[in-house]
Chain length 253, copies 2
């Protein structure tokens, strides 16, 4: 697929899929990651492959939450690394956020490949790969319980895009603020997080960074107001209604 | 994933995914194919992972169309070969259909692997792999324009499951009758084909073969009546309504 024509009506989606396939060839992404991506594609398709008003609201709330955090951490898995490495590097340069590699299908080799892939894209420091700093969150059952003591373990706010439902729930129950990106508004991740951005990560991340820029000089009061006025449950309900409406319109064509 | 418990609520879907993963390991399926499958899984999930009344209607119309054809061809890509090799072989034994390997992400090696995988499952003759019979359909932009002169090029009816939208449109505009299997009732493939079976290919193919058996001795008149009475647009609209209803129910859980 070296020749995706820009005029193909779904060129963007095909380009994104290619990025992920390349990540797979490099050993960053698992076969399970490829399947999970396809599921996301279907929801994105139903949503019209566009960033909705609701997604923009969630992005704004997420950016405010991140700026309010004392110890924010961005958790990276294989798909996230393959899809938005430049944006991760930019995010780390523009805030005090730490970047941590944290995998569901854990392997030392893949961790290191992901870390060096991120460094190739301009990131200076990556947590989550050094044995001596490895720690556990016993409430989490999967391999993702192994976290960096300097990162997720100590964080007050965790930005975990494309996350597993169990893990999201556990991070929330540990009292951490959780921001996520998830295209399925019915998923357990979407429902358990404090702030869910229902959007494709490749569209959401650049907007997230822009929003951070805009809000950077805002007062704590203003930022707090933004996060307090954000109602995740309501936002997800609206996204679902939008999906239903899209399907309804499509069915009347 | 060697031990999928038959009592698992989604055992069938997991078995299918395993088939595809095995196909990937054998070099039949591309990483993009795995993503595409994940996308189909999501639509199948929304549809309840069942063969609907609409799908059964489309299967019947497709079988009638195939029996009416003078030069029918079945087009096989990596995912199709990995998922239903036995059914392809059965199909070729029960009708005058030719089987042709035709890939979006084309490689000589993969073409040959797919052909020999099909032969391992009982198929005698596979088109699409011999250079000397290779021809072009200039209207098609992707690699799939390269077709076998004895197969798709000469066909009056093409059965192309899991197809790309551009290609389906082009085959239709060349005056060929196109039958497809596509889980997304909104896709360009689904909308452009003459007969779209909105179902999982692993459930659709055995039913398709059964329907062929049933209709085999029918008169041309009867077969023509079945295809004429089939309204693809209406069928897709009904599938969409069903998806809508399912999503509505899922969202109230």
């Amino acid at each position: 697929m070296n020749d995706i024509k820009p005029e193909h009506p779904r060129a963007e989606s095909l380009q994104t899929r290619k990025k992920l396939a390349d990540g797979f060839k490099k050993g960053l992404v698992t076969p399970e990651g490829l399947s999970a991506h396809g599921r996301g594609e279907a929801f994105d398709y139903i949503l019209g492959e566009k960033t909705t008003k609701q997604a923009k609201k969630a992005i704004r709330a997420g950016a405010a939450e991140l700026l309010l955090a004392e110890k924010p951490v961005f958790s990276v898995n294989g798909n996230v690394a393959a899809l938005v490495p430049e944006e991760i590097s930019e995010l780390s340069k523009k805030t005090n956020i730490e970047i941590e590699v944290n995998l569901f299908h854990r392997s030392k080799e893949r961790e290191e490949k992901i870390a060096s892939h991120l460094k190739d894209h301009g990131l200076d420091k990556v947590l989550g790969t050094e044995e001596k700093h490895s720690s556990e969150i016993s409430e989490i059952e999967s391999n993702r319980r192994i976290v960096d003591e300097r990162g997720i373990k100590a964080a007050d706010t965790v930005f975990v895009p494309l996350e597993d439902g169990d893990r999201t729930k556990n991070l929330v129950s540990l009292g951490k603020k959780v921001i996520t990106i998830d295209l399925n508004p019915m998923s357990r991740t979407a429902k358990s997080a404090d702030i869910t951005i229902t959007n494709n990560i490749v569209r959401a991340m650049p907007l997230f960074i822009k929003e951070l820029e805009k809000l950077k000089e805002s007062s704590q009061e203003k930022l707090s107001k933004i996060t307090k006025n954000f109602d995740n449950e309501q936002n997800l309900r609206k996204m679902l209604k939008l999906m239903l409406k899209r399907l309804e319109n499509l069915s009347h064509r």
